[in-house]
Assembly symmetry: C2
Homo-oligomer: 149 residues x 2
């Protein structure tokens, strides 16, 4: 198992935790110096917070810091425009994406802005997300306001 | 006083509230059908939350909703890439910006993505933000991770 696969498994554990809570199964971890420094998952259902996508919840959990140049963000699903914009604003230099089948996301935007993007096409990430979309399509539609680029 | 000026005064009141709390003086309100439906201000200092820019705190306060097509976002300062990305993802069709002197922000990105942008060049918004940047330059630098486009 590569380091990327190992950290993606941690992001997927966050997604599974959210699914088990009845929430959207999208998880993220922030890694620095080979260690997970923050974890997060989508909190739309759990906290009624539309801005708490998995990536945002994770970056929030990391707390205040001046720069992000030494971090890598792992996310089970390709980032929406909110999360991609956050990566660019904060200067996170690398994003590892679990899958982009259930949501195309904004990998091109990230790359155009100098972010290194690695997509793993992880079947476990894809299956969990696909299951949620089948079960609760209205909640998924709400999470992205019907907007997949 | 136009409606835009009236709602910007409400966003500025949020910015002043944050300043009085020792935080970054950036405020926002979300308006629908001629009424303010949510207010917010930057919470980096107050809550230790790097994702809580004024616009994000306001959108969070508005809670869950399926669509934003009937809303307008008022913000005292031109939106960073996180906040601009959020506007585009959620489909907020119009953003009114207090000022873009202290931070250039991403008005071009918003327009390219079909968002109507009105900038008021409000001296009161500009002065309050400029004062904070003079007083606490390191906190301001941290808020945008040193990145003004």
């Amino acid at each position: 198992m590569t380091d990327d696969e190992k950290f993606m498994a941690e992001a997927l554990a966050q997604a599974q935790k959210s699914y088990d809570e009845g929430g959207l199964p999208i998880g993220a971890v922030l890694v620095e110096d080979g260690k997970v420094i923050a974890r997060g998952h989508n909190q739309r259902v759990q906290k009624g917070d539309p801005t708490a996508h998995g990536e945002m919840d994770c970056i929030r959990a990391a707390g205040r810091r001046a720069r992000y140049a030494s971090t890598t963000l792992y996310t089970t699903l390709s980032p929406c425009m909110m999360c991609a914009g956050t990566v660019v604003q904060f200067g996170i230099p690398r994003v590892v994406v679990g899958e982009a089948k259930n949501f195309h996301g904004n990998e091109a935007f990230l790359k155009e802005n100098g972010v290194e993007v690695t997509r793993l096409d992880d079947p476990a990430c894809t299956e969990l997300m696909a299951r949620f979309i089948r079960e609760k399509p209205a909640v998924w539609d709400e999470d992205i306001a019907g907007n997949d680029p």
